[in-house]
Point group: C2
Chain length 396, copies 2
């Protein structure tokens, strides 16, 4: 059991970086301190006593720094920081889900080659230790699916709409005022943020990496009153869900999609900016983890958990990546969906293998029917910008 003193070289002092700073102040740790903070503008007054620099070189050159914590927004810069840390054999903690979703395989390999700890639990679902749980607890081929509300901002907006009859726009404004929404709303509302997290979780859940661009992703930005009414009639709520599941044939499919969730489901009750993840396994049945998925302090505390784990030389083992059971990515799975559209041209956009309900009026039309995920992937780009909305409509 190693108990080295940790001197952190921190990149970024936004909401999470500041959160980490506050948490460290609160625990009064003598064993973990922030040695130096690299920010873009070091002249800015941040109201804290710390050693700021704007030079990454200076931070990496500091011989006292023995761990790198990367909490910046810029994915490209984050990638270079993590690479550089691993090459210098400095343990590194990252919170950048976009960067991880694109570069994980390479960085995992680099971490292996350099035998350097590299942790990022805080990147997916903030304070809920999902990655750690998948790594440590569900590593025995029994796992069937991971399904969850992975993005707090979009869930906040959906909660306000479904519980308080707020309009989409008013809810979005409120989320932005409260600081829940990213400055680029597309990240939250078009499902990008959920997608990045899902890619990360899938590596730990099933041992396979699927690049973001290969995954069907649909968000809630085109959702309108008709869709809300449809959901209410069916006594369901619309939730933006990241979902990965293993089929009996060993294929694993994943998608990010609004889902019409019925009342008896755990994630039905995940409200506001919270995240909730349901892990399903053969014999385990279902487990549900719930907590704050975002925010400076909860995420800062999660980063501290990663730092502490690094301090004890904890590593992800990626056991599923070495599993003897053959697992492959597939899109060949049929789901029932709800599809709302306006023009006949848009109606033909989606190839339904079976139409189950069809509704038309002067204002809007919808089809409920079965679609192969493969076909959705192939029209993903065409769907974008159209005055349509689709949501999974599970059987349960």
């Amino acid at each position: 059991m190693q108990q080295k003193k940790i001197q952190i070289g921190l990149f970024g002092f936004g909401s999470v970086g500041r959160g980490l700073y506050d948490v460290l102040e609160a625990v009064e740790s003598r064993d973990i301190t922030i040695r130096r903070i690299c920010v873009r503008d070091k002249s800015k007054d941040r109201g804290v006593e710390a050693d700021f620099t704007d030079s990454a070189d200076e931070l990496f050159a500091d011989p006292e720094v023995n761990m790198i914590v990367e909490l910046i927004d810029d994915a490209e810069a984050a990638y270079h920081i993590v690479r550089r840390a691993l090459e210098a054999r400095l343990p590194v903690v990252s919170g950048n889900k976009r960067m991880l979703a694109y570069h994980l395989p390479e960085l995992i390999e680099l971490g292996r080659q350099t035998a350097t700890p590299f942790l990022y639990d805080a990147s997916a679902c903030g304070s809920i230790p999902v990655i750690r749980n998948l790594e440590e607890y569900y590593d025995n081929d029994l796992l069937v699916s991971v399904k969850g509300i992975l993005n707090g901002s979009s869930n906040f907006v959906l909660s306000k709409i479904f519980n308080e009859n707020m309009s989409y726009d008013a809810a979005l404004r409120l989320a932005q005022e409260l600081g829940f929404a990213e400055s680029d709303p597309s990240l939250d509302f078009d499902g990008w943020d959920s997608l990045f997290k899902l890619v990360i979780l899938t590596i730990h859940a099933f041992g396979i990496y699927v690049a973001p661009e290969r995954i069907f992703r649909y968000g809630i930005s085109t959702m309108n009153d008709a869709d809300i009414r449809f959901a209410a009639e069916k006594q369901r709520r619309i939730k933006l869900v990241g979902h990965v599941e293993k089929l009996d044939n060993g294929g694993v499919y994943l998608w990010v999609v609004p889902q019409l969730i019925s009342r008896n489901k755990y994630i039905y009750s995940v409200e506001d900016e919270f995240n909730g993840v349901v892990i399903k396994g053969r014999y385990y049945y279902k487990q549900f983890m719930f907590g704050r998925g975002a925010g400076g302090h909860p995420t800062g505390a999660a980063v501290l958990s990663d730092i502490t784990a690094c301090r004890y030389d904890y590593r992800y083992e990626y056991k599923r990546m070495n599993s003897s059971t053959p697992i492959h990515h597939t899109d060949d799975v049929v789901h029932r969906i709800y599809y709302r559209y306006r023009t006949e041209e848009d109606a033909t956009l989606i190839h339904f293998t079976k139409v189950r309900e069809r509704y038309s009026s002067h204002e809007w039309n919808y089809i409920v029917g079965d679609v192969n995920l493969r076909d959705l992937v192939s029209i993903q780009e065409k769907l974008s910008g159209k005055e349509v909305f689709l949501a999974a409509y599970p059987w349960d």
Copy 2:
């Protein structure tokens, strides 16, 4: 990363032992097999093909056995099996919460001395990985409390009463028919089972061991219609809760007690035989984990997680036991409680520092007021067998 082949010497083939057997069959693991099973009566036909023995010596003498899994009911025998395994430097997985609650400090020390892995995640909350989470994720002095429904059988009965207006007796009979209740109902309904689990969780949450007999424990077996009516009037539900919390002064108190839970609390919605645990930390806020707490298959799957972890040489680190922050057990904390009684003699049993409500009728009386937990501990024995009922009545 070690990947030894595991050959298990299994003690016990009851519900969980059988569950483990089924789960191992299902995953078709070639790396983990049950080498031999020690049972009391080896002549009994169990309908499985396995090598049964009734001799612990024979099992321990088998040179092929390289891990011991202990899933028997008898706490005393379980203790000797675990000791013997550790002394023989055989990694050991145990599911016996009663045994652990009484012997953990000694066994932890023995595990250290012999450098032998010793895991027991399945002992507390079955398939919910609470211990592993406390160990790995909340190890940084930010943890404030762990509070949960730790016993599925009593929760099943309470659910039937509060949701389906079933009588206590009918609900208990149903639980027994469905196989949820232990053969000795006192374990479930007088809070013993919850207490044992709470003792185990407290070691991992706060690094201190408190012997079961020092902890206030009260169950639901004397609950009656008056109490159910009181709860309903206050729009609350009665739940049997295990609760450990750190006070600002560094004192940690713990108790197992029925609690009047209001609707906005996570554990309000934990129904039937499920378990649910709320982990609260400074900066983390709250997290909620939920799943099947009992049953052969979920618990068998949890035991398999422990076995896999053992295979990878995972150990609990008990970091909190070595924490520099001084933590001590205390009972000096005031709670509001509801106390229902019949006779004036029983009324004086409890020393209220403040009476807030008082109700009397020909049939029953109650007091709502503030009580120091220390005083409850001192009258614990006197409460037993009395025609009274008490429940915590939190402020929230």
